[in-house]
């Protein structure tokens, strides 16, 4: 970045001194040995993915999977590559190559869990948006009723459907190509940015390894979702700005602005985060006294782009962000006033995280906090040296406690998780420069030690990173959420099973697209993504969500017929398996549903199938679990 690129005085102070063994060149015998070590790492990584495929296979055929094996095979992918990268024996390009290979392998494990269909909530929402673009040839309409504002941010779908049209791939395959490209951009952008900031490839690669410990890596950021492409675009946008031709003045901003427009078309919060970052960077330059040419102009233009697009999507995006922030603030306020907190490591349906996972996740948070104290103090003490970008990243890192403590309430946990992708950028920077600075200052002491003792810090670092990597995965989601397995009630990937998909397939063949339907959270997703049905929701249709949920979850009341008539509900999809358990995710349909927050037992089968008794309501499909009712024959008064 300007004023902070390699060679600038403040950054050279962090650059590790050249390591005689770090140039990748040595005797032929040593090079051969290194080649075989590298080959072994390549094979171990592949074996890790094979282990993940086995977990996927077992989950589908036997209905169960071992969380320990899940994290062990993931560690088999992460740890050997991390050790090789940090060994100091590879050339710079080889380090980057291994970081990229390992990151792609980790992402491939997500593909191996769901190799034929998307299985998560946001994935199905975006599948529906992509299908709508494919059918209509145009963006923004029809509105996705489950996540309305997502229809106004179709960048990810544009790229994926473009790939789909130009290659003939299925949407699922095109989606995974998109995710692989996004992953490559993320890793390379982090490494290149950190390299420009710190002037050292070792620091940059360590930062990338630390960044991979954030809990969203295995969870949200590997899903077919707009945020998965937005984050790489955000990093790329900053990088393109940093490498611009300053002499070209405003013309030099065109590439960065083009990327920013693409980012804004992809995700609201991420583009807003970039604007905040630019603001903070600009403020930091005022503190450090080192101005960055055109930064202010870029900041102003980015605000303009965000303002214009937000105005365009104002009907839904403002409400969406407002609701998320206010509910999080409300729940935190309640918590501070002695209100109820979230039950950690357990789901409302009674699933409890294994004890060893609880220990590892707490341990990883404590480890990060423990390291952040000296690392943060180191960066703060030398704030004049770290430059404006370093200052911003340091302040970002200090926000880390938001990530674990945000999990104390339901509403703030999602914000905490999403913010982790930004905060970990700061954590990665602060910890990596601190680590290498410590090594450098202690180098003279280590020279007198044996080879075995020299290895100890690196071994400890790799073990610590792997520990945090596993801890991040555990914090990210329950272990069942990562793998296929037996059916669970309202558990997204574990609820969208063969029976749900069979019903979706029947709907696609027999129900007119755009028909208005009411169902539970997961069958809603299936009917929208596979059959193009219009799911009636409070957000998009401005109806009373509680009254709509009564149609599925409550006993029959006369007001139900009024709701059906007023909201033009044409079909009801009822999954009788909902009566077997409380929902894993806490709600059957959406927040504000019937008995939300007070429910102690699942709905009775009689409530779920009450329309059997209602004249004019027809049961037109039954696969044992899922029943579809046609409500068009109901008599509406008035």
């Amino acid at each position: 970045m300007p004023g902070s690129g390699p060679g600038s005085q403040q950054l050279e102070s962090y650059a590790a001194a050249p390591d005689s063994s770090g140039d990748g060149h040595g005797s032929p015998k040593r090079n051969r040995s290194l080649t075989h070590w590298a080959g072994l790492v390549i094979l171990l990584t592949a074996v890790g993915t094979l282990g993940q495929a086995w977990i996927s296979y077992e989950g589908r055929t036997a209905g169960a999977s071992s969380p320990a094996l899940f994290y062990l095979t993931l560690s088999l992918i992460y740890a050997p590559s991390a050790a090789l990268i940090l060994s100091g024996k590879l050339s710079d390009n080889a380090k980057v190559g291994f970081a990229l290979y390992m990151s792609l392998a980790v992402h491939a494990t997500r593909f191996l869990q769901y190799p034929s269909d998307f299985g998560y909530h946001d994935e199905l929402v975006h599948q529906a948006i992509a299908a709508a673009i494919d059918q209509t040839g145009h963006l923004f309409h029809p509105l996705n009723t489950i996540l309305p504002e997502a229809s106004y941010y179709p960048g990810m779908e544009i790229f994926t459907t473009g790939l789909q049209h130009m290659t003939g791939m299925s949407l699922h395959s095109a989606g995974w190509v998109m995710l692989a490209i996004a992953d490559a951009i993320t890793v390379l952008a982090i490494i290149q940015l950190m390299r420009r900031i710190t002037g050292n490839m070792n620091v940059a690669c360590l930062a990338a390894l630390i960044y991979m410990c954030n809990q969203e890596l295995l969870n949200f950021n590997s899903q077919f979702s707009y945020a998965s492409l937005a984050l790489p675009l955000a990093l790329f946008c900053i990088y393109v700005f940093a490498m611009r031709d300053e002499s070209a003045k405003l013309r030099g901003l065109i590439p960065a602005m083009a990327v920013f427009v693409a980012l804004e078309a992809t995700h609201h919060i991420t583009s807003l985060a970039v604007v905040i970052l630019l603001w903070a960077w600009n403020r930091a330059t005022q503190v450090t006294g080192r101005r960055v040419p055109q930064l202010y102009v870029f900041f102003a233009l980015s605000i303009l782009v965000v303002a214009v697009w937000t105005w365009f999507a104002r009907a839904y995006v403002i409400t969406y962000i407002q609701a998320a922030v206010s509910s999080a603030a409300d729940s935190v306020y309640k918590l501070l006033n002695g209100g109820s907190s979230r039950k950690l490591f357990a789901t409302p349906a009674g699933y409890k995280t294994p004890e060893w996972e609880v220990i590892v996740s707490f341990g990883s948070v404590l480890l990060i906090l423990f390291i952040l104290v000296p690392a943060g103090l180191y960066a703060i003490r030398r704030w004049r040296l770290v430059g404006a970008v370093g200052l911003v990243l340091t302040l970002t890192a200090l926000a880390y406690p938001v990530v674990p403590f945000g999990h104390l309430t339901d509403n703030s946990s999602e914000i905490a998780d999403r913010s982790a992708v930004f905060i970990f950028g700061g954590v990665a920077y602060v910890v990596s420069i601190w680590w290498f600075r410590q090594l450098r200052t202690q180098r003279s002491e280590r020279r007198s030690l044996s080879n075995q003792n020299r290895l100890r810090p690196t071994v400890a670092l790799v073990l610590g990173l792997t520990f945090c990597f596993v801890g991040g995965g555990i914090i990210g989601d329950s272990d069942w959420a990562y793998t296929p397995g037996s059916y669970m009630v309202i558990a997204d990937n574990r609820s969208i099973d063969q029976l749900a998909l069979a019903a979706g397939s029947w709907e696609a063949a027999n129900i007119k697209q755009g028909s208005r339907v009411v169902s539970d959270r997961d069958n809603d997703l299936v009917s929208q993504a596979y059959a193009g049905l219009h799911v009636v929701t409070a957000e998009a249709d401005h109806v009373d969500g509680g009254a709509v949920s009564n149609l599925l979850l409550r006993y029959l009341a006369p007001s139900d017929i009024d709701t059906i008539c007023a909201d033009h509900v044409q079909y009801l999809i009822s999954d009788v398996r909902l009566s077997t358990s409380l929902p894993e995710l806490g709600i059957y349909i959406d927040q504000g549903e019937y008995l939300d927050g007070t429910r102690t037992a699942p709905p009775a089968v009689a409530d779920l199938t009450k329309f059997d008794q209602v004249p004019g309501a027809e049961r037109i499909y039954d696969n044992g679990a899922i029943r579809i009712y046609n409500l068009k024959g109901l008599t509406c008064t008035g």
């Binding site: 993915t49 495929a53 593909f111 034929s116 290659t167 790329f236």
Partner: protein, 265 residues
């Protein structure tokens, strides 16, 4: 045949340079790049299988993006980053533009856009020549063949992993399932469908109206569905308007009954 080859070669040598000022890109490279761009459009238009079209397209996009960002990248890592990022950005911006055209985002409009953008890059970078020397390739292979073998082994393991994961999906899709649904109805009959997967048994369709005595019971229906599934369509005669309950019951009394509730008339 020999003569034809000679003619082609003679034509190849005589292909005039494009009328572009100061073009230093070798003619052959220009032709290869243009041919690749056109081949992608042809593949899109012909609806070529994804197994052929995808590698062709990815190579074409990478070659075009590399040409576009060549002057901005200082090393290989930066080049890969710029190629990926520029391709994604270009796709999104082109898609936004296409949305405001009458054609929208279709296969035709994407194909046409590709031709325009790739040709534009070719014209823009007409002075940039690609230097690929056989000696460099040989040297690269000589230095990296061992790690390449490990890479091939890893690729084989990964292909095995994909196959294993897909085997789980195929197995899961073949779990027993029995679905019963309405096809159509009129005053005299209701047409119903049975969809079965990995289910074997004898069933009977039973219809009754408003809890009145049994009206219709079908002859036994043999369902013998393997993992690929079986679909049976049956007619259920009805003799009066009103609410009908149509059961699909197992003859041997196993607990696998399905039920439809239909208003007739």
């Amino acid at each position: 045949m020999h003569r034809l080859a000679e003619l082609v070669m003679a034509w190849w040598e005589r292909v005039p340079s494009p009328r572009l000022k100061q073009s230093t890109m070798p003619r052959r490279e220009l032709i290869v790049r243009a041919a690749l761009n056109v081949a992608i459009v042809v593949a899109i238009a012909a609806g070529l299988s994804a197994w052929f079209a995808t590698p062709l397209f990815l190579v074409g996009v990478a070659a075009t993006a590399e040409l576009a960002v060549r002057n901005y990248s200082a090393n290989g890592v930066e080049k890969i980053l710029l190629i990926c990022g520029a391709a994604v950005t270009a796709f999104i911006l082109v898609g936004l533009f296409l949305n405001f055209t009458p054609l929208g985002l279709t296969r035709v409009s994407w194909g046409a856009s590709w031709l325009v953008v790739s040709t534009g890059v070719l014209v823009w970078r007409r002075n940039s020549a690609t230097l690929i020397r056989r000696e460099d390739i040989k040297l690269y292979i000589l230095h990296h063949w061992v790690i390449g073998l490990y890479g091939i082994a890893a690729l084989a393991i990964f292909v095995g992993a994909v196959y294993l994961a897909m085997a789980g999906v195929w197995s899961s899709n073949q779990r027993p399932m029995l679905a019963f649904s309405l096809v159509s109805k009129n005053a005299n009959q209701v047409v119903v469908k049975i969809n079965a997967i990995s289910t074997t048994g004898t069933y009977r369709i039973v219809a009754q109206s408003n809890n009145r005595p049994l009206h219709y019971s079908s002859s036994p229906i043999l369902v013998n569905a393997d993992g690929d599934g079986e679909t049976l369509v049956e007619n259920v005669p009805v003799n009066m308007p009103g609410r009908w309950i149509i059961h699909l019951n197992s003859v041997n009394g196993s607990n696998s009954s399905r039920e439809l509730i239909i208003d007739v008339g």
